[in-house]
């Protein structure tokens, strides 16, 4: 079930759990999303077309879906993505986890999950939601959650 206060997610309006509302967040309020989400693009331009959430997501999914992605590109992509002021959509993370699988890198897959939880900050409901969305992939690929390994506690 979905976290309380959220509508059933529709893929195209979905939830970018930004850590703060931005100017374009005014848009999101009219769609009565929970307060912590906002339509925040990674960059705000003073001119030119603003990239939509969907375009942003699609771009990153494509990036990680490259069949012959190499380890450096995975690291670069992931580190850059975590540097943004948002928690990545489950579909981006799914593509990233599959990239880890192609690269035979289980440790990075677990690390990505840890990073998502850390990135959510005080918004504790994001991480369980992401895990819920990714559960089929985690089961398919055999990726344990940090909780299962006990590394979520120091």
């Amino acid at each position: 079930c979905h976290p309380p206060g959220m509508r059933k997610p529709v893929s195209r309006t979905m939830f970018r759990a930004a850590l703060q509302l931005s100017v374009s967040g005014a848009r999101s309020l009219t769609r009565s999303r929970p307060q912590y989400t906002a339509s925040v693009a990674a960059r705000s331009y003073s001119h030119g077309k603003q990239e939509t959430d969907e375009e942003f997501d699609a771009r990153w999914v494509t990036y990680f879906s490259k069949p012959d992605i190499d380890a450096w590109e995975l690291r670069k992509g992931m580190n850059t993505l975590i540097g943004y002021d948002l928690v990545p959509e489950p579909k981006i993370l799914d593509a990233a986890l599959r990239a880890c699988r192609r690269l035979n890198d289980l440790a990075s897959a677990i690390r990505i999950l840890e990073a998502v939880k850390d990135k959510s900050g005080p918004h504790k409901e994001i991480y369980p939601y992401v895990l819920q969305e990714l559960q089929p992939t985690l089961n398919e690929l055999g990726i344990p959650t940090p909780e299962e390994l006990g590394i979520d506690k120091a």
Binding site: L106, A107, G142, P146, D152
Partner: protein
């Protein structure tokens, strides 16, 4: 303070000695060298960099190499311990461990208070044994005479000192 840092460091490396898979693995840890080569990518534990440039353990023992080979197959075949071992090969600290913090602040605060207290003792000793007597004009008698003079002079008669003196009743208001 340096001592507390050194103590914490020693505790950390001692702790990891037990947790790492083998003593050979410990020797192979990339960070356990005296001279760090800054011209090549280094391992780091950073919350904002989930995937470090190089894995934590780079010189793998035979057992670890076998595990790495097994990683190439289906991950559902790996046991939980193997998955954890693979994680620890690549990463020194988990996110929870990175965020952990330490009790060093107590040591620091305690040290600060100890030295403040010691300084207080020094200051008190100095007051007693180094400073000479205070001027005689600060004696009770002298102050009384001075105060009477100020009243007689009508110092600040509107709002201040002498205003507070009742000249009829010869007392403070």
């Amino acid at each position: 303070m340096l001592a507390s840092r050194a103590l914490v460091r020693g505790l950390q490396s001692g702790f990891w000695r037990r947790v790492s898979t083998s003593s050979a693995a410990w020797a192979a840890h990339t960070h356990d060298v005296d001279v760090v080569d800054c011209s090549v990518p280094q391992y780091n534990n950073r919350l904002d960099t989930p995937l470090p440039d190089v894995p934590f353990v780079r010189n793998l023992s035979a057992k670890q190499k076998k595990l790495k080979e097994k990683e190439k197959g289906s991950w559902t075949q790996l046991t939980k311990e193997e998955k954890l071992a693979l994680y620890r090969l690549t990463h020194e600290l988990s996110y929870a461990e990175m965020r952990q913090g330490s009790k060093e602040w107590m040591t620091v605060l305690g040290g600060v208070f100890i030295f403040l207290g010691f300084t207080g003792l020094l200051v008190w000793w100095q007051r007693v044994y180094v400073y000479g007597d205070v001027p005689h004009t600060l004696s009770q008698e002298s102050v009384a005479q001075q105060t009477q003079r100020m009243i007689d002079m009508r110092v600040n008669p509107v709002h201040g000192f002498s205003h507070k003196w009742d000249y009829e009743k010869k007392q403070w208001k």
